[in-house]
Protein backbone atom coordinates (compact mmCIF):
# COMPACT_ATOMS: atom_id res chain seq x y z
CA UNK A 1 0.00 0.00 0.00
CA UNK A 2 1.45 3.39 -0.89
CA UNK A 3 2.88 5.44 1.96
CA UNK A 4 0.42 8.31 1.77
CA UNK A 5 -2.62 6.12 2.54
CA UNK A 6 -0.85 4.47 5.46
CA UNK A 7 0.28 7.87 6.76
CA UNK A 8 -3.26 9.28 6.52
CA UNK A 9 -4.81 6.26 8.24
CA UNK A 10 -2.15 6.41 10.96
CA UNK A 11 -2.90 10.12 11.43
CA UNK A 12 -6.62 9.32 11.78
CA UNK A 13 -5.78 6.65 14.36
CA UNK A 14 -3.50 8.93 16.35
CA UNK A 15 -5.92 11.83 16.20
CA UNK A 16 -8.53 9.85 18.13
CA UNK A 17 -5.96 8.11 20.29
CA UNK A 18 -5.22 11.57 21.72
CA UNK A 19 -8.61 11.60 23.41
CA UNK A 20 -8.35 8.49 25.60
CA UNK A 21 -10.68 9.69 28.32
CA UNK A 22 -13.35 10.49 25.73
CA UNK A 23 -12.95 6.96 24.32
CA UNK A 24 -13.31 5.48 27.80
CA UNK A 25 -16.39 7.59 28.58
CA UNK A 26 -17.92 6.64 25.21
CA UNK A 27 -17.29 2.94 25.81
CA UNK A 28 -18.85 3.23 29.28
CA UNK A 29 -21.99 4.83 27.79
CA UNK A 30 -22.17 2.09 25.15
CA UNK A 31 -22.02 -0.53 27.90
CA UNK A 32 -24.79 1.12 29.96
CA UNK A 33 -27.10 1.32 26.96
CA UNK A 34 -26.06 -2.23 26.03
CA UNK A 35 -27.45 -3.53 29.32
CA UNK A 36 -30.71 -1.62 28.82
CA UNK A 37 -31.24 -2.79 25.25
CA UNK A 38 -30.20 -6.34 26.03
CA UNK A 39 -32.61 -6.72 28.98
CA UNK A 40 -35.48 -5.21 26.98
CA UNK A 41 -34.93 -7.48 23.96
CA UNK A 42 -34.48 -10.59 26.13
CA UNK A 43 -37.74 -9.81 27.98
CA UNK A 44 -39.52 -9.33 24.64
CA UNK A 45 -38.04 -12.61 23.38
CA UNK A 46 -39.14 -14.44 26.56
CA UNK A 47 -42.68 -13.09 26.13
CA UNK A 48 -42.69 -14.09 22.45
CA UNK A 49 -41.61 -17.65 23.09
CA UNK A 50 -37.84 -17.41 22.95
CA UNK A 51 -37.08 -15.38 19.82
CA UNK A 52 -37.63 -11.95 18.25
CA UNK A 53 -37.77 -11.56 14.48
CA UNK A 54 -36.16 -14.98 14.13
CA UNK A 55 -33.21 -14.16 16.45
CA UNK A 56 -32.76 -16.59 19.35
CA UNK A 57 -31.54 -15.52 22.81
CA UNK A 58 -27.75 -15.74 22.21
CA UNK A 59 -28.17 -14.17 18.75
CA UNK A 60 -30.05 -11.26 20.34
CA UNK A 61 -27.29 -10.84 22.92
CA UNK A 62 -24.68 -10.72 20.15
CA UNK A 63 -26.88 -8.41 18.08
CA UNK A 64 -27.06 -5.94 20.97
CA UNK A 65 -23.45 -6.05 22.20
CA UNK A 66 -21.73 -6.20 18.82
CA UNK A 67 -24.09 -3.38 17.77
CA UNK A 68 -23.08 -1.29 20.80
CA UNK A 69 -19.46 -1.90 19.85
CA UNK A 70 -19.96 -1.14 16.16
CA UNK A 71 -21.75 2.12 16.93
CA UNK A 72 -18.48 4.02 17.38
CA UNK A 73 -16.67 2.09 14.65
CA UNK A 74 -19.25 2.86 11.97
CA UNK A 75 -19.74 6.27 13.61
CA UNK A 76 -22.94 7.28 11.85
CA UNK A 77 -23.78 9.91 14.48
CA UNK A 78 -20.68 12.04 14.05
CA UNK A 79 -20.28 14.19 10.97
CA UNK A 80 -17.00 14.61 9.13
CA UNK A 81 -15.01 17.82 9.58
CA UNK A 82 -15.57 18.60 5.90
CA UNK A 83 -18.97 20.29 6.39
CA UNK A 84 -17.58 22.65 9.02
CA UNK A 85 -14.55 23.34 6.85
CA UNK A 86 -16.81 24.26 3.93
CA UNK A 87 -18.82 26.57 6.19
CA UNK A 88 -15.75 28.34 7.53
CA UNK A 89 -13.87 28.35 4.23
CA UNK A 90 -11.04 26.16 5.57
CA UNK A 91 -11.87 23.72 2.77
CA UNK A 92 -9.57 25.90 0.66
CA UNK A 93 -6.62 24.22 2.37
CA UNK A 94 -8.03 20.78 1.46
CA UNK A 95 -8.38 21.76 -2.19
CA UNK A 96 -4.85 23.14 -2.32
CA UNK A 97 -3.29 19.74 -1.67
CA UNK A 98 -2.16 17.50 -4.52
CA UNK A 99 -4.59 14.78 -3.46
CA UNK A 100 -8.33 14.39 -3.85
CA UNK A 101 -9.97 15.38 -0.52
CA UNK A 102 -12.29 12.36 -0.85
CA UNK A 103 -9.31 10.02 -0.38
CA UNK A 104 -7.75 12.14 2.36
CA UNK A 105 -10.94 11.99 4.39
CA UNK A 106 -11.53 8.31 3.57
CA UNK A 107 -8.14 7.09 4.75
CA UNK A 108 -8.24 9.31 7.82
CA UNK A 109 -11.68 7.91 8.67
CA UNK A 110 -10.41 4.34 8.26
CA UNK A 111 -7.69 5.17 10.79
CA UNK A 112 -10.34 6.52 13.14
CA UNK A 113 -12.40 3.34 12.69
CA UNK A 114 -9.30 1.27 13.44
CA UNK A 115 -8.83 3.08 16.74
CA UNK A 116 -12.53 2.65 17.55
CA UNK A 117 -12.24 -1.08 16.76
CA UNK A 118 -9.48 -1.65 19.32
CA UNK A 119 -11.14 0.44 22.02
CA UNK A 120 -14.83 1.24 21.64
CA UNK A 121 -15.68 -2.11 19.99
CA UNK A 122 -13.73 -4.38 22.32
CA UNK A 123 -15.10 -3.02 25.62
CA UNK A 124 -18.86 -3.62 25.07
CA UNK A 125 -18.20 -6.98 23.39
CA UNK A 126 -16.12 -8.23 26.32
CA UNK A 127 -18.71 -6.94 28.85
CA UNK A 128 -21.54 -8.54 26.87
CA UNK A 129 -19.66 -11.83 26.63
CA UNK A 130 -18.98 -11.93 30.36
CA UNK A 131 -22.44 -10.75 31.49
CA UNK A 132 -24.64 -12.65 29.03
CA UNK A 133 -22.57 -14.96 26.81
CA UNK A 134 -22.41 -14.23 23.08
CA UNK A 135 -23.51 -16.35 20.15
CA UNK A 136 -20.61 -18.52 18.99
CA UNK A 137 -20.45 -18.78 15.17
CA UNK A 138 -20.55 -22.29 13.72
CA UNK A 139 -18.35 -21.53 10.71
CA UNK A 140 -14.78 -20.32 11.09
CA UNK A 141 -15.25 -18.23 7.94
CA UNK A 142 -17.80 -16.12 9.81
CA UNK A 143 -15.03 -14.36 11.74
CA UNK A 144 -13.11 -12.93 8.73
CA UNK A 145 -16.41 -12.30 6.93
CA UNK A 146 -17.58 -10.22 9.91
CA UNK A 147 -14.40 -8.14 9.73
CA UNK A 148 -14.86 -7.60 5.98
CA UNK A 149 -18.50 -6.72 6.47
CA UNK A 150 -17.55 -4.27 9.25
CA UNK A 151 -14.93 -2.62 7.04
CA UNK A 152 -17.53 -2.28 4.28
CA UNK A 153 -20.03 -0.84 6.79
CA UNK A 154 -17.41 1.76 7.75
CA UNK A 155 -16.92 2.64 4.08
CA UNK A 156 -20.67 2.87 3.37
CA UNK A 157 -21.14 5.09 6.41
CA UNK A 158 -18.16 7.22 5.43
CA UNK A 159 -19.52 7.73 1.91
CA UNK A 160 -22.98 8.65 3.26
CA UNK A 161 -21.49 11.17 5.68
CA UNK A 162 -19.21 12.56 2.98
CA UNK A 163 -22.27 13.13 0.76
CA UNK A 164 -24.01 14.88 3.67
CA UNK A 165 -20.95 17.07 4.22
CA UNK A 166 -20.86 17.94 0.52
CA UNK A 167 -24.36 19.39 0.78
CA UNK A 168 -22.67 22.20 2.76
CA UNK A 169 -21.41 23.53 -0.57
CA UNK A 170 -25.02 24.40 -1.40
CA UNK A 171 -26.67 24.82 1.99
CA UNK A 172 -23.84 25.97 4.30
CA UNK A 173 -25.89 25.03 7.38
CA UNK A 174 -26.48 21.30 7.20
CA UNK A 175 -28.02 20.74 10.64
CA UNK A 176 -31.41 19.86 9.09
CA UNK A 177 -29.86 17.24 6.81
CA UNK A 178 -27.80 15.88 9.70
CA UNK A 179 -30.82 15.50 11.99
CA UNK A 180 -32.73 13.68 9.26
CA UNK A 181 -29.73 11.40 8.68
CA UNK A 182 -29.28 10.61 12.40
CA UNK A 183 -32.95 9.63 12.69
CA UNK A 184 -33.15 7.58 9.48
CA UNK A 185 -29.72 5.96 9.78
CA UNK A 186 -30.60 4.88 13.34
CA UNK A 187 -34.05 3.51 12.62
CA UNK A 188 -33.41 2.02 9.18
CA UNK A 189 -29.97 0.53 9.79
CA UNK A 190 -30.96 -1.93 12.49
CA UNK A 191 -29.28 0.06 15.24
CA UNK A 192 -32.37 0.53 17.42
CA UNK A 193 -34.12 -2.78 16.63
CA UNK A 194 -33.50 -5.71 14.25
CA UNK A 195 -34.97 -4.86 10.84
CA UNK A 196 -36.56 -8.31 10.78
CA UNK A 197 -39.30 -7.11 13.16
CA UNK A 198 -40.51 -4.65 10.51
CA UNK A 199 -43.21 -5.71 7.99
CA UNK A 200 -41.65 -7.94 5.32
CA UNK A 201 -42.18 -5.49 2.46
CA UNK A 202 -40.65 -2.58 4.40
CA UNK A 203 -37.63 -4.60 5.44
CA UNK A 204 -37.17 -5.76 1.83
CA UNK A 205 -37.34 -2.19 0.51
CA UNK A 206 -34.76 -1.05 3.05
CA UNK A 207 -32.38 -3.89 2.17
CA UNK A 208 -32.65 -3.54 -1.60
CA UNK A 209 -33.18 0.17 -2.18
CA UNK A 210 -31.27 1.89 0.62
CA UNK A 211 -27.74 1.66 2.02
CA UNK A 212 -28.95 1.85 5.64
CA UNK A 213 -28.96 -1.90 6.49
CA UNK A 214 -25.39 -2.04 5.15
CA UNK A 215 -24.35 0.19 8.09
CA UNK A 216 -25.26 -2.10 10.99
CA UNK A 217 -27.68 -4.91 10.24
CA UNK A 218 -25.41 -6.45 7.61
CA UNK A 219 -22.33 -7.03 9.80
CA UNK A 220 -24.54 -8.02 12.76
CA UNK A 221 -26.42 -10.59 10.66
CA UNK A 222 -23.10 -11.95 9.40
CA UNK A 223 -21.85 -12.27 13.00
CA UNK A 224 -24.92 -14.17 14.23
CA UNK A 225 -25.01 -16.25 11.02
CA UNK A 226 -28.60 -15.28 10.27
CA UNK A 227 -29.61 -17.24 7.16
CA UNK A 228 -26.29 -19.10 7.17
CA UNK A 229 -22.98 -18.40 5.49
CA UNK A 230 -24.46 -18.06 1.98
CA UNK A 231 -26.75 -15.29 3.16
CA UNK A 232 -23.80 -13.64 4.87
CA UNK A 233 -21.84 -13.65 1.62
CA UNK A 234 -24.83 -12.20 -0.24
CA UNK A 235 -25.23 -9.44 2.33
CA UNK A 236 -21.52 -8.62 2.18
CA UNK A 237 -21.66 -8.54 -1.63
CA UNK A 238 -24.56 -6.08 -1.35
CA UNK A 239 -22.47 -3.88 0.92
CA UNK A 240 -19.66 -3.89 -1.63
CA UNK A 241 -22.06 -2.72 -4.33
CA UNK A 242 -23.19 0.14 -2.06
CA UNK A 243 -19.58 1.13 -1.37
CA UNK A 244 -18.83 1.40 -5.10
CA UNK A 245 -22.08 3.25 -5.91
CA UNK A 246 -21.76 5.69 -3.01
CA UNK A 247 -18.08 6.48 -3.63
CA UNK A 248 -18.89 7.15 -7.28
CA UNK A 249 -21.71 9.43 -6.10
CA UNK A 250 -19.25 11.19 -3.77
CA UNK A 251 -16.87 11.82 -6.66
CA UNK A 252 -19.63 13.12 -8.89
CA UNK A 253 -21.19 15.39 -6.27
CA UNK A 254 -17.76 16.66 -5.19
CA UNK A 255 -16.87 17.44 -8.79
CA UNK A 256 -20.02 19.56 -9.09
CA UNK A 257 -19.55 21.12 -5.67
CA UNK A 258 -15.99 22.21 -6.47
CA UNK A 259 -17.10 23.54 -9.82
CA UNK A 260 -19.65 25.84 -8.25
CA UNK A 261 -17.26 26.66 -5.47
CA UNK A 262 -17.52 30.03 -3.88
CA UNK A 263 -15.33 29.96 -0.86
CA UNK A 264 -17.04 31.56 2.12
CA UNK A 265 -15.44 34.48 3.87
CA UNK A 266 -13.44 35.41 0.81
Amino acid sequence: MPHVQVALAAAGFRRYATYRQAALAGAFTNVVFGFMRCYILLVVAAQAGGSVGGYTGPQLVSYVWLGQGLLAVVNSWTQLDLAERVRTGDVVADLLRPINPLWTYLWTDLGRAGFAMVTRFIVPVVVGAIAFGLYVPRHLLTYPLFLVSTALAVLVCFACRYLISLTAFWMLDIRGVTMFWVFVSGAASGLYFPLAILPGWLSAVLWVATPFPALMQAPLDVAVERGGLAHGLLVTGGQLVWVVLLLLACRWVQHNAVRKLVVQGG
Binding site: A7, A11, R15, T18, D90, A93, L96, R97
Partner: protein
Protein backbone atom coordinates in the same frame (compact mmCIF):
# COMPACT_ATOMS: atom_id res chain seq x y z
CA UNK B 1 7.56 34.99 -16.01
CA UNK B 2 6.12 32.80 -13.28
CA UNK B 3 2.72 34.46 -12.83
CA UNK B 4 0.82 35.99 -15.67
CA UNK B 5 -2.73 37.31 -15.54
CA UNK B 6 -4.46 39.49 -18.06
CA UNK B 7 -7.95 40.91 -17.84
CA UNK B 8 -8.65 38.66 -14.86
CA UNK B 9 -12.24 39.02 -13.72
CA UNK B 10 -14.48 37.44 -11.09
CA UNK B 11 -18.15 38.18 -10.70
CA UNK B 12 -20.39 36.81 -7.97
CA UNK B 13 -24.15 36.60 -8.21
CA UNK B 14 -25.79 37.75 -4.99
CA UNK B 15 -29.49 37.25 -4.27
CA UNK B 16 -31.30 39.84 -2.18
CA UNK B 17 -34.78 39.75 -0.72
CA UNK B 18 -37.09 42.06 -2.67
CA UNK B 19 -40.47 41.35 -1.07
CA UNK B 20 -42.03 38.48 0.81
CA UNK B 21 -41.28 35.85 -1.82
CA UNK B 22 -39.40 37.68 -4.52
CA UNK B 23 -35.64 37.63 -4.69
CA UNK B 24 -33.50 39.79 -6.92
CA UNK B 25 -30.20 38.67 -8.34
CA UNK B 26 -27.34 41.14 -8.52
CA UNK B 27 -23.98 40.66 -10.10
CA UNK B 28 -21.11 41.92 -7.95
CA UNK B 29 -17.73 42.35 -9.55
CA UNK B 30 -15.00 41.33 -7.08
CA UNK B 31 -12.10 41.44 -9.52
CA UNK B 32 -12.51 43.58 -12.58
CA UNK B 33 -9.79 43.20 -15.17
CA UNK B 34 -6.55 42.69 -13.25
CA UNK B 35 -3.32 42.50 -15.25
CA UNK B 36 -0.38 41.07 -13.35
CA UNK B 37 3.06 39.88 -14.36
CA UNK B 38 5.45 38.53 -11.77
CA UNK B 39 9.00 37.41 -12.51
CA UNK B 40 10.66 34.44 -10.81
CA UNK B 41 12.16 35.37 -7.42
CA UNK B 42 10.17 38.59 -6.93
CA UNK B 43 8.53 39.47 -3.61
CA UNK B 44 5.34 41.27 -4.49
CA UNK B 45 3.07 43.13 -2.09
CA UNK B 46 -0.53 42.82 -3.21
CA UNK B 47 -2.52 45.26 -1.12
CA UNK B 48 -5.85 47.00 -0.99
CA UNK B 49 -8.68 47.85 1.42
CA UNK B 50 -11.12 45.24 2.74
CA UNK B 51 -13.24 43.84 -0.06
CA UNK B 52 -10.89 45.13 -2.77
CA UNK B 53 -10.53 41.67 -4.34
CA UNK B 54 -7.12 40.57 -3.00
CA UNK B 55 -8.15 37.20 -1.63
CA UNK B 56 -10.36 36.56 -4.64
CA UNK B 57 -7.37 37.16 -6.93
CA UNK B 58 -5.23 34.82 -4.83
CA UNK B 59 -7.89 32.12 -5.00
CA UNK B 60 -8.01 32.43 -8.79
CA UNK B 61 -4.20 32.26 -8.99
CA UNK B 62 -4.15 29.13 -6.84
CA UNK B 63 -6.99 27.44 -8.73
CA UNK B 64 -9.67 27.29 -6.04
CA UNK B 65 -11.88 29.84 -7.75
CA UNK B 66 -12.78 29.83 -11.42
CA UNK B 67 -12.29 33.23 -13.08
CA UNK B 68 -15.32 34.76 -14.83
CA UNK B 69 -13.02 36.08 -17.52
CA UNK B 70 -9.43 36.75 -18.51
CA UNK B 71 -6.40 34.53 -18.72
CA UNK B 72 -4.11 33.32 -16.00
CA UNK B 73 -1.12 31.01 -15.74
CA UNK B 74 1.02 30.20 -12.70
CA UNK B 75 4.26 28.27 -13.29
CA UNK B 76 3.05 28.00 -16.89
CA UNK B 77 -0.04 26.08 -15.73
CA UNK B 78 -3.69 27.07 -15.93
CA UNK B 79 -4.61 26.97 -12.21
CA UNK B 80 -8.22 25.71 -12.14
CA UNK B 81 -7.83 23.06 -14.84
CA UNK B 82 -4.64 21.64 -13.29
CA UNK B 83 -5.20 22.49 -9.64
CA UNK B 84 -3.65 19.32 -8.19
CA UNK B 85 -0.62 19.54 -10.52
CA UNK B 86 -0.13 23.17 -9.57
CA UNK B 87 -0.56 22.32 -5.86
CA UNK B 88 2.82 20.52 -5.90
CA UNK B 89 4.56 23.65 -7.21
CA UNK B 90 3.00 26.34 -5.02
CA UNK B 91 2.64 26.92 -1.30
CA UNK B 92 -0.25 28.82 0.22
CA UNK B 93 -0.81 30.34 3.64
CA UNK B 94 -4.16 31.90 4.38
CA UNK B 95 -3.69 33.79 7.67
CA UNK B 96 -7.21 33.04 8.82
CA UNK B 97 -7.32 29.42 7.64
CA UNK B 98 -5.31 26.45 8.78
CA UNK B 99 -3.76 23.67 6.78
CA UNK B 100 -2.43 21.84 9.83
CA UNK B 101 -4.10 18.89 11.57
CA UNK B 102 -5.72 20.35 14.65
CA UNK B 103 -5.36 17.36 16.98
CA UNK B 104 -1.88 16.24 15.96
CA UNK B 105 1.51 17.55 17.08
CA UNK B 106 2.95 20.06 14.63
CA UNK B 107 5.76 17.68 13.65
CA UNK B 108 3.25 14.98 12.67
CA UNK B 109 1.43 17.43 10.41
CA UNK B 110 4.78 18.04 8.71
CA UNK B 111 5.51 14.35 8.18
CA UNK B 112 1.98 13.79 6.87
CA UNK B 113 2.55 16.62 4.37
CA UNK B 114 5.80 14.92 3.32
CA UNK B 115 3.79 11.85 2.29
CA UNK B 116 1.02 13.87 0.64
CA UNK B 117 3.50 15.86 -1.46
CA UNK B 118 5.77 12.83 -1.92
CA UNK B 119 8.88 14.69 -0.82
CA UNK B 120 12.07 12.60 -0.48
CA UNK B 121 12.96 12.17 3.21
CA UNK B 122 16.35 13.94 2.78
CA UNK B 123 14.86 17.05 1.13
CA UNK B 124 12.12 17.17 3.76
CA UNK B 125 14.63 17.00 6.63
CA UNK B 126 16.83 19.73 5.10
CA UNK B 127 13.95 22.14 4.53
CA UNK B 128 12.45 21.44 7.95
CA UNK B 129 15.84 22.13 9.57
CA UNK B 130 16.15 25.46 7.68
CA UNK B 131 12.64 26.57 8.65
CA UNK B 132 13.10 25.37 12.19
CA UNK B 133 16.34 27.35 12.60
CA UNK B 134 14.83 30.54 11.21
CA UNK B 135 11.45 30.32 12.89
CA UNK B 136 12.43 28.64 16.16
CA UNK B 137 10.05 25.69 15.82
CA UNK B 138 11.96 23.30 18.07
CA UNK B 139 10.34 24.42 21.30
CA UNK B 140 6.80 23.60 20.14
CA UNK B 141 7.16 21.02 17.35
CA UNK B 142 5.85 18.25 19.61
CA UNK B 143 2.84 20.33 20.75
CA UNK B 144 -0.61 19.57 19.26
CA UNK B 145 -1.62 22.33 16.88
CA UNK B 146 -4.75 23.14 18.92
CA UNK B 147 -2.51 24.17 21.85
CA UNK B 148 -0.24 26.50 19.83
CA UNK B 149 -0.47 30.27 20.14
CA UNK B 150 -1.43 32.15 16.99
CA UNK B 151 2.19 33.21 16.44
CA UNK B 152 3.48 29.66 16.83
CA UNK B 153 0.77 28.30 14.55
CA UNK B 154 1.58 30.85 11.87
CA UNK B 155 5.24 29.82 11.96
CA UNK B 156 4.01 26.26 11.57
CA UNK B 157 1.78 27.25 8.64
CA UNK B 158 4.69 28.96 6.87
CA UNK B 159 6.85 25.87 7.30
CA UNK B 160 4.03 23.60 6.11
CA UNK B 161 3.69 25.68 2.96
CA UNK B 162 7.42 25.46 2.17
CA UNK B 163 8.31 21.83 2.94
CA UNK B 164 7.67 20.65 -0.61
CA UNK B 165 9.93 23.38 -2.03
CA UNK B 166 7.29 25.44 -3.87
CA UNK B 167 8.27 27.80 -6.69
CA UNK B 168 5.65 30.34 -5.66
CA UNK B 169 4.46 31.12 -2.15
CA UNK B 170 1.10 32.87 -1.77
CA UNK B 171 0.60 34.53 1.61
CA UNK B 172 -2.77 35.97 2.48
CA UNK B 173 -2.37 38.21 5.54
CA UNK B 174 0.22 36.04 7.29
CA UNK B 175 0.84 38.55 10.09
CA UNK B 176 -2.81 39.16 10.97
CA UNK B 177 -3.36 39.17 14.73
CA UNK B 178 0.28 38.43 15.59
CA UNK B 179 2.17 40.15 18.39
CA UNK B 180 5.22 42.30 17.64
CA UNK B 181 7.77 39.52 18.17
CA UNK B 182 5.91 36.99 16.04
CA UNK B 183 5.51 39.58 13.30
CA UNK B 184 9.22 40.23 13.40
CA UNK B 185 9.95 36.50 13.21
CA UNK B 186 7.66 36.09 10.18
CA UNK B 187 9.07 39.20 8.47
CA UNK B 188 12.65 38.15 9.12
CA UNK B 189 11.89 34.75 7.67
CA UNK B 190 10.29 36.21 4.54
CA UNK B 191 13.21 38.61 4.09
CA UNK B 192 15.59 35.64 4.26
CA UNK B 193 13.45 33.74 1.75
CA UNK B 194 13.50 36.77 -0.54
CA UNK B 195 17.27 37.09 -0.21
CA UNK B 196 17.77 33.48 -1.31
CA UNK B 197 15.77 34.37 -4.41
CA UNK B 198 14.55 30.90 -5.41
CA UNK B 199 10.96 31.38 -4.22
CA UNK B 200 8.57 33.91 -5.68
CA UNK B 201 6.37 35.42 -2.97
CA UNK B 202 3.01 37.11 -3.38
CA UNK B 203 2.02 38.75 -0.11
CA UNK B 204 -1.31 40.34 0.71
CA UNK B 205 -1.43 42.28 3.94
CA UNK B 206 -3.01 45.18 5.78
CA UNK B 207 0.14 45.61 7.82
CA UNK B 208 1.98 48.53 6.31
CA UNK B 209 5.17 47.65 8.16
CA UNK B 210 5.19 44.35 6.23
CA UNK B 211 5.11 46.36 3.01
CA UNK B 212 7.75 48.85 4.10
CA UNK B 213 10.16 46.17 5.26
CA UNK B 214 9.60 43.51 2.62
CA UNK B 215 8.08 44.62 -0.65
CA UNK B 216 10.17 46.19 -3.37
CA UNK B 217 7.20 46.07 -5.69
CA UNK B 218 3.70 47.00 -4.67
CA UNK B 219 0.49 46.29 -6.55
CA UNK B 220 -2.46 48.16 -5.08
CA UNK B 221 -5.94 46.97 -5.95
CA UNK B 222 -9.24 48.66 -5.21
CA UNK B 223 -12.75 47.83 -6.35
CA UNK B 224 -11.23 44.93 -8.26
CA UNK B 225 -8.85 47.08 -10.33
CA UNK B 226 -5.13 47.72 -10.13
CA UNK B 227 -4.63 51.34 -9.08
CA UNK B 228 -0.86 51.25 -8.60
CA UNK B 229 1.91 48.94 -9.77
CA UNK B 230 5.41 50.05 -8.82
CA UNK B 231 7.76 50.67 -5.89
CA UNK B 232 6.85 52.33 -2.62
CA UNK B 233 9.04 55.31 -3.58
CA UNK B 234 7.09 55.70 -6.80
CA UNK B 235 3.92 55.75 -4.75
CA UNK B 236 5.36 58.51 -2.52
CA UNK B 237 6.44 60.44 -5.62
CA UNK B 238 3.02 60.06 -7.17
CA UNK B 239 1.34 61.57 -4.14
CA UNK B 240 4.13 64.06 -3.55
CA UNK B 241 4.69 62.74 -0.03
CA UNK B 242 6.78 65.29 1.85
CA UNK B 243 8.93 65.23 4.95
CA UNK B 244 7.60 67.51 7.68
CA UNK B 245 9.10 69.63 10.44
CA UNK B 246 7.10 70.13 13.63
CA UNK B 247 8.36 73.12 15.63
CA UNK B 248 7.34 74.24 19.15
CA UNK B 249 7.85 77.97 19.65
CA UNK B 250 8.34 80.35 22.60
CA UNK B 251 6.13 83.01 20.98
CA UNK B 252 3.12 82.62 18.63
CA UNK B 253 3.81 82.08 14.92
CA UNK B 254 3.60 85.42 13.01
CA UNK B 255 0.62 84.92 10.62
CA UNK B 256 2.33 86.14 7.47
CA UNK B 257 5.74 84.58 8.02
CA UNK B 258 7.05 82.54 5.04
CA UNK B 259 10.04 80.17 5.14
CA UNK B 260 11.70 79.51 1.76
CA UNK B 261 11.42 75.84 0.65
CA UNK B 262 8.68 74.94 3.11
CA UNK B 263 4.93 75.28 3.30
CA UNK B 264 3.11 75.88 6.56
CA UNK B 265 0.45 73.18 6.81
CA UNK B 266 -0.91 73.59 10.36
CA UNK B 267 -0.60 76.08 13.20
CA UNK B 268 -1.78 74.81 16.60
CA UNK B 269 -1.58 75.53 20.34
CA UNK B 270 -2.33 79.27 20.03
CA UNK B 271 0.32 79.59 17.37
CA UNK B 272 3.04 77.94 19.46
CA UNK B 273 3.21 74.74 17.39
CA UNK B 274 3.68 74.85 13.63
CA UNK B 275 4.02 72.10 11.04
CA UNK B 276 5.90 72.75 7.81
CA UNK B 277 6.05 70.45 4.79
CA UNK B 278 9.38 70.48 2.95
CA UNK B 279 9.34 71.24 -0.76
CA UNK B 280 12.52 69.44 -1.73
CA UNK B 281 14.94 71.62 0.25
CA UNK B 282 17.23 69.95 2.80
CA UNK B 283 15.79 69.93 6.32
CA UNK B 284 18.94 71.64 7.70
CA UNK B 285 18.45 74.73 5.51
CA UNK B 286 14.81 75.08 6.53
CA UNK B 287 15.64 74.59 10.21
CA UNK B 288 18.35 77.27 9.96
CA UNK B 289 15.91 79.72 8.35
CA UNK B 290 13.30 78.85 10.96
CA UNK B 291 15.73 79.43 13.86
CA UNK B 292 16.51 82.90 12.51
CA UNK B 293 12.86 83.85 12.09
CA UNK B 294 11.35 82.58 15.37
CA UNK B 295 12.38 81.50 18.88
CA UNK B 296 12.47 77.69 18.76
CA UNK B 297 11.82 75.63 21.88
CA UNK B 298 11.75 72.14 20.33
CA UNK B 299 11.80 70.61 16.86
CA UNK B 300 11.37 67.25 15.10
CA UNK B 301 11.72 66.10 11.48
CA UNK B 302 9.28 63.41 10.32
CA UNK B 303 9.56 61.08 7.32
CA UNK B 304 6.49 60.72 5.05
CA UNK B 305 4.05 58.20 6.54
CA UNK B 306 3.18 55.21 4.41
CA UNK B 307 -0.26 55.14 6.11
CA UNK B 308 -1.00 58.58 4.73
CA UNK B 309 -0.07 57.77 1.18
CA UNK B 310 -1.93 54.45 1.16
CA UNK B 311 -5.00 56.07 2.73
CA UNK B 312 -4.90 58.78 0.05
CA UNK B 313 -4.61 56.13 -2.62
CA UNK B 314 -7.64 54.24 -1.28
CA UNK B 315 -9.63 57.48 -0.96
CA UNK B 316 -8.76 58.55 -4.51
CA UNK B 317 -9.87 55.22 -5.90
CA UNK B 318 -13.33 55.56 -4.26
Amino acid sequence: MIISASGLRKEFTVTRKAGRFRRERHVVSAVDGVDLRVERGELLGYIGPNGAGKSTTLKMLTGVLTPSGGEVTVCGIEPVAKRTTLARRIGVVFGQRSQLWWDLPLGESFSLLRHIYRVPAGDHATRLRQCSDLLGLDEFIETPVRQLSLGQRMRGELTAALLHGPEVLFLDEPTIGLDVLSKQAVRGFLAELDARGDTTVVLTTHDLADIEKLCRRLVVIDHGRVVHDGTLDELHARYRSRRTIVADLDTPWPPNLKIPGAEVTTVEADGRRVTLALDGLAAGQVVAALAQAVALRDLSVQEPQIEDVIARLYRDAD
